[in-house]
């Protein structure tokens, strides 16, 4: 472990705010707020507030051996099979075939050698799913099953696999249960009490407070929870977000137990942007995110994934496009769900999101939905490229269709 103790940008700091801004440029200072792809600030003509983050600290840490964009920057494999979704039913056997085609076409190796490329048998592998919007538009269990089968068949003990998301109750609602996934761990980073009156332990603190790592955080100065109008009061905010200050702590599951991460995202829009691979981890790896939507939104996807605890462990991304949702997202809206019958594979999550974003824009146009193609909705992907985390330039992205 790197023992170097980096300073957050709050309080006494060796770098002045001006110097900090100059160092990281527009990368860490919000020039315009985005909420669900919506410019949210300046509602009465006031300029958007500037916020500072600790992205510079993340980037100072040398990349690890498995860091994104991985061995295949800018490469995206799209596997389409009409048999995967027939009469609105998903065929798990076909999905498993698609997983095999996707991985082998991505790596150019067999499934066994692909496993060796990404994993060791001693790894503890986290499978990050998106459980929001079942039964239509979430990470389908059939995909998770196929990936787990690949890992287990190549020697990874089922007990070394953890299906995870931010919220425990959402996993259960989506069908991620011990009965469906025997031997595999299923964990939420936190619990949330839907009634909002039973989330404190005997000590008065949130029941999930010990699940988060105080030594690993995304720091955002200038975005307090009070700026989040989604929460009626501090109580409801803490229930959902555990903490409410300037620090969004990463889950200990991610920082202390998992050694590799596979990212299984859903395929859907959020406003004029997308809620797919990078958002699945950007908002799913840490707490206290409600305050981040307004000043940073999509930029959070880039900066959270840039954190060493994410970028150095994220070895594979698969976006579950068996069903797609082209409008009305990020929540489920059956009106806009369609059979896409495709899975998308990449080690580079930003190239993957760029490909899927452009596909979804084309779908919106084809369906006659209002389509706002302002470049701001993909700025976070170009920002990631500027940080060396992936490829966003379409001319440099190679899509392999299977």
């Amino acid at each position: 472990m790197n023992k170097r103790r980096y300073r957050p940008m709050s309080g006494p700091c060796h770098v002045s705010r001006r110097e900090f801004v100059r160092t990281v440029g527009t990368c860490s200072v919000a020039a315009g707020g985005l909420v669900l792809g919506v410019p949210a600030f300046g509602e009465q003509g006031t300029p958007p507030p500037a916020v500072e983050t600790n992205i510079a600290d993340f980037m100072k840490v040398p990349k690890g051996r498995y860091a994104i964009p991985g061995p295949f920057p800018g490469k995206v494999v799209k596997v389409t099979d009409a048999r995967s979704l027939v009469q609105d039913r998903i065929d798990g056997r076909v999905v498993a075939e698609m997983v095999q085609k996707g991985i082998t076409n991505l790596t150019g190796k067999s499934m066994k050698d692909s496993f060796k490329l990404f994993f060791e048998k001693s790894d503890v592998v986290g499978i990050k799913v998106n459980p929001v919007g079942p039964p239509l538009i979430h990470t389908h269990e059939e995909l998770a099953e196929a990936v787990i089968r690949w890992l287990v068949d190549n020697g990874l003990p089922p007990g070394n696999i953890v299906i995870w998301d931010r919220f425990d109750y959402m996993l259960a609602d989506a069908g991620y249960t011990p009965a469906r996934f025997p031997g595999v761990r299923i964990e939420g980073l936190q619990t949330m009490d839907e009634k909002g009156n039973n989330w404190r332990g005997k000590d008065g603190n949130h029941l999930s407070i010990s699940n988060f790592d105080r030594d690993a955080f995304y720091f955002v100065k200038g975005a307090p929870w009070q700026g989040d109008r989604n929460q009626k009061d501090e109580e409801s905010y803490l229930n959902q977000h555990v903490f409410n200050g300037e620090y969004s702590y990463f889950g200990k599951l991610l920082t202390q137990r998992l050694t590799k991460v596979i990212n299984l995202a859903a395929y859907k829009n959020t406003g004029s942007g997308i809620s797919m691979a990078t958002k699945n981890l950007g908002f799913g790896s840490l707490c206290n995110t409600g305050r981040l939507h307004a000043p940073l939104f999509f930029k959070v996807n880039t900066e959270v994934i840039a954190a060493p605890v994410v970028r150095d462990k994220l070895v594979l991304n698969i976006t579950d496009g068996v069903r797609g949702q082209y409008d009305g997202g990020p929540d489920k809206n059956a009106q806009f769900v369609y059979p896409n019958q495709s899975l998308y594979f990449a080690t580079d999550p930003f190239a993957l999101d760029m490909v899927c974003h452009n596909e979804l824009v084309a779908k919106r146009k084809a369906m006659g939905v209002n389509t706002n193609e302002n470049p701001r909705f993909t700025e976070y992907l170009r920002y990631a490229e500027s940080l060396g985390l992936g490829v966003a330039n379409v001319a440099k992205i190679r899509v392999v269709r299977v």
């Binding site: 980096y6 315009g32 949210a40 903490f243």
Partner: protein
């Protein structure tokens, strides 16, 4: 493992740490008078919301309706509670004007319906949300309200109510039952009222299904980005309407109109747009009553003021005349 982002000190930060959180009953200060006033206010609010909740309960199909048994507890989401229910989607409801969501599930055999009854502040708000979420409508001639129905769900709007009845699995055989639920709900609601802003735009050459109502940035966002925040200064009160048009001369373009309380408010909005125009839009010409700009696709847009009416033409293929 390289974390490389440890805090400056290992000590507790009261503003950020759980240890800084107080149990609700602990550490509260305040005068007895203030507490008494707060209690009275809470009691008053609780009473009013309870009455409101009861009112919406009366709209719901009873237990056993058409062979459908109520299942689970009825859930009521008020104001910010909605965020917990539709994470990422609640803002649109707040922008238009949201009062309460009542949710009840029903079961018949293996099938399950989830009924979401949104009570909005007014018919414009309910219509605005419906138009944003209905997609390409597939109506059934037997149901008189504006609606769309499929094996997955029935969605309709009447008066200030926006309703979604979702089926747990797609099944066209469920459509008659979905419509029966809709008919029951509709029969309990007040009659629909005219949504005046819809008349702000001409119907000629209007692309079917493209009309949208706008009360702030969330509804405007799918149509166009003029800049950050509430660029039209609608404030959730003034309602704009937008639609796409198709004609042989101009091809397809978007027309948006709003009537402000007075001419000055319309002119101020134009000035606000000029002063805060999105960084991807380039000003071509501007005056106290008109703005012409070019967008990132080399298409043109205009904003013009006539009296209290503000009108935008967007996605124009040719430079507009003076």
């Amino acid at each position: 493992m390289n974390r490389g982002h440890r805090p400056q000190a290992a000590g507790r930060r009261k503003d950020a740490s759980g240890e800084g959180q107080r149990p609700r009953a602990a550490g509260r200060r305040g005068s007895a008078t203030a507490r008494c006033a707060l209690l009275c206010l809470c009691a008053s609010l609780a009473l009013s919301t309870a009455v409101a909740a009861a009112g919406d309960t009366d709209l719901l199909p009873p237990d056993g309706f058409g062979g459908w048994k109520r299942t689970g507890n009825q859930r009521v989401f008020r104001q910010a509670d909605l965020y917990g229910y539709i994470d990422g989607g609640a803002e649109l409801f707040f922008e238009f004007g949201f009062e309460q969501l009542t949710q009840q599930k029903y079961r018949s055999g293996k099938a399950e319906f989830t009924l979401d009854l949104y009570r909005m502040t007014d018919p414009i708000a309910a219509t605005g949300v419906y138009l944003m979420r209905c997609g390409k409508e597939t109506p059934n001639a037997g149901f008189p309200e504006r609606h769309t129905v499929s094996g997955y769900q029935l969605m309709f709007q009447r008066d200030r109510y926006y309703v979604v009845v979702s089926n747990s699995a797609a099944n066209e055989k469920s459509v008659p039952d979905l419509l029966r639920f809709g008919a029951f709900l509709s029969s309990k609601m007040p009659p629909g009222r005219t949504v005046a802003p819809l008349d702000l735009l001409p119907r000629h050459n209007q692309v079917r299904g493209s009309v949208r109502l706008i009360r702030g940035p969330y509804a405007l966002q799918p149509i166009y980005t003029l800049g950050d925040g509430d660029m039209l200064l609608l404030g959730g009160k003034t309602t704009a309407v937008a639609a796409n048009y198709q004609d042989s001369e101009r091809g397809q373009y978007t027309l948006l109109a709003a009537v402000y309380p007075d001419p000055r408010a319309a002119r101020d909005t134009l000035q606000h747009i000029i002063s805060n125009l999105d960084r991807y839009l380039k000003v071509i010409d501007k005056s106290p009553t008109r703005l012409v700009f070019m967008d990132y696709e080399s298409r043109y847009g205009t904003v013009s003021v006539t009296g209290a009416r503000l009108e935008l033409r967007l996605h124009l293929h040719q430079a507009p005349g003076s």
